[in-house]
């Protein structure tokens, strides 16, 4: 594959967190606008997901987060602006929590191979990676919320994607489950070096797990490293004055496990902008 790498991909696991914007651009949205039946959903949104980074898109309900993900996934065309993908880009997608119709008899093993053909050992190893190997023969319809999210994650990973799109993965989880899930997502990024686009409306935990944050509400409100976004006036206006403090608390706790590498560094490319 001849990929026109903008910047060479950093080797896996060499550092805890790649600096923001470190890897090759996997997908880039340029001045994206979306109008659906006369209603403006998105306006002038610039976004790039790089290999090896976790980019989190946050915003209040109805801010257009899922629409942005759908545009980047190519599920619908933007009204204005353009989208560029790395050639041959493989994408794994975990949609917002969805029900699998109980009339479809399907177990975890089969669920994982819906769109790919892989060996039994590949199925086992990807389930092992997300800590769901014991569920392999379980029918999908009996899984709990947390189990289902892990299985969906395994399903998205099985095709060895270079870009992973996770839409509200922690929606059905309690606080502890949420922490575990984000830790798992961080591990996956470190191990596989894939780019991860995370959509979320919950704030403190997800900010701690991200390299860069894009805060949108129809347009880009602010973006940058989590601390920067958390202290941004636009962020406070959207989520309330105290929202930023929770991030700091969580970050602090996590400082014991990871160095701050990319988190405190802030080059030109992660500065925020305004319209």
């Amino acid at each position: 594959m001849a990929l026109p790498a903008v910047i060479p991909l950093r080797p896996n696991g060499s550092e805890d967190k790649p600096a923001p914007g470190a890897g090759e651009a996997l997908v880039t949205g340029d001045r994206l606008g979306l109008t659906l039946s006369g209603k403006t959903i998105l306006e002038n949104v610039d976004v790039t997901v790089h290999a090896g980074e976790i980019l989190t898109v946050i915003g209040p309900n109805g801010a257009g987060k899922t629409s942005l993900a759908r545009l980047l996934l190519g599920l619908m065309p933007p009204t204005t602006g353009s989208i560029a993908r790395a050639p041959g880009l493989k994408v794994g997608y975990v949609p917002q929590r969805f029900p699998v119709d109980p009339s479809i008899p399907i177990n975890v093993r089969r669920f994982l191979t819906l769109t790919v053909r892989v060996s039994p050992s590949a199925i086992r190893s990807v389930l092992q990676e997300v800590g769901a190997l014991h569920l392999i023969d379980r029918p999908i319809s009996v899984l709990s919320g947390g189990e289902f999210q892990r299985v969906c994650l395994a399903r998205a990973l099985i095709g060895v994607p270079r870009l992973l799109v996770l839409d509200e993965p922690a929606q059905a989880l309690d606080y502890a489950g949420e922490l575990q899930l984000y830790e798992l997502i961080g591990d996956i990024r470190r191990r596989r070096g894939c780019g991860i686009l995370l959509i979320s409306h919950d704030l403190h935990v997800v900010l701690g797990a991200s390299d860069r944050v894009l805060c949108i509400n129809g347009h880009v409100c602010c973006e940058g490293v989590p601390e920067k976004v958390a202290n941004h006036p636009e962020y406070a206006r959207l989520f309330g004055r105290d929202a930023g403090k929770a991030v700091a608390v969580y970050r602090h706790r996590h400082d014991h496990e990871h160095d701050l590498s990319g988190a405190v560094k802030c080059g030109e490319d992660c500065g925020h902008k305004h319209d």
Partner: protein
Amino acid sequence: MIDDFLVRAGLAGLGIALLTAPLGCFVVWQRLAMFGNSIAHCGLLGVALGIILSVDLTLGVIVVSLALAALLIGMQGQKLLPDDTLLGILAHAALAAGLLAATLIGGARLDLMGYLFGDILAVSAGDLWWLLCGLAAIAGAMIWLWRPLLAISVHEEMAAAEGVPVNLVRAAFMLLVAFTIALSIKLVGILLITSLLIIPAAAARAFVTTPEQMALGAAGISIIGVLAGLAMSLHLDTPAGPSIVLVLTALFIATVPWLLRKNRG
């Protein structure tokens, strides 16, 4: 003892059972029963057009069914009205137009009851030929469509994001359903044909753990229902189509306790 027309009826019934059962699983999974009904209801219009244009009646039904399916595919994603409302309007308009056309043509040239409720004992050698060719074509298409269709049934956008050509697969499936219904109308009739898609699949659900098992199980149940229904029709002198549907319904009801237990466990 076994008359020629009975052999034809039996073969036609088996062929249709094998066709409709696997297709019916997807109709159940994708909640397309109403779509099936709409396609079936336009069948009579196809028959009437076939008579007016003096072409093969099965061909007439196939052409009209495919045309309606194409229309419905084109209207997918419209947001003016709920899908089932539009389907309902189309279905009943097509049925009314068919009834009107049938009346205008005159009873002597069109066995209205036979098309509404089926007349499998009147299956001709030509019909059987259509059916066998159709069976082969549809079986081939189903094998080709199976995996992408299953992926779409589980989650359409997930499948789309991972490269399944959702619109193409869905359109192909809807055309397949229309084609199958058009071929099968002789057996149980316009008003009952959808039951052959959904009842065997529903009856198989309680006993299976994979999609493929469900398709095979539905085919088995469908074959039992068709043969038992034909036998009932022969011995009790009841109309074949309704007999088959009632036998299938009885089979489904018999599985309900297992379905309930599965749901609880």
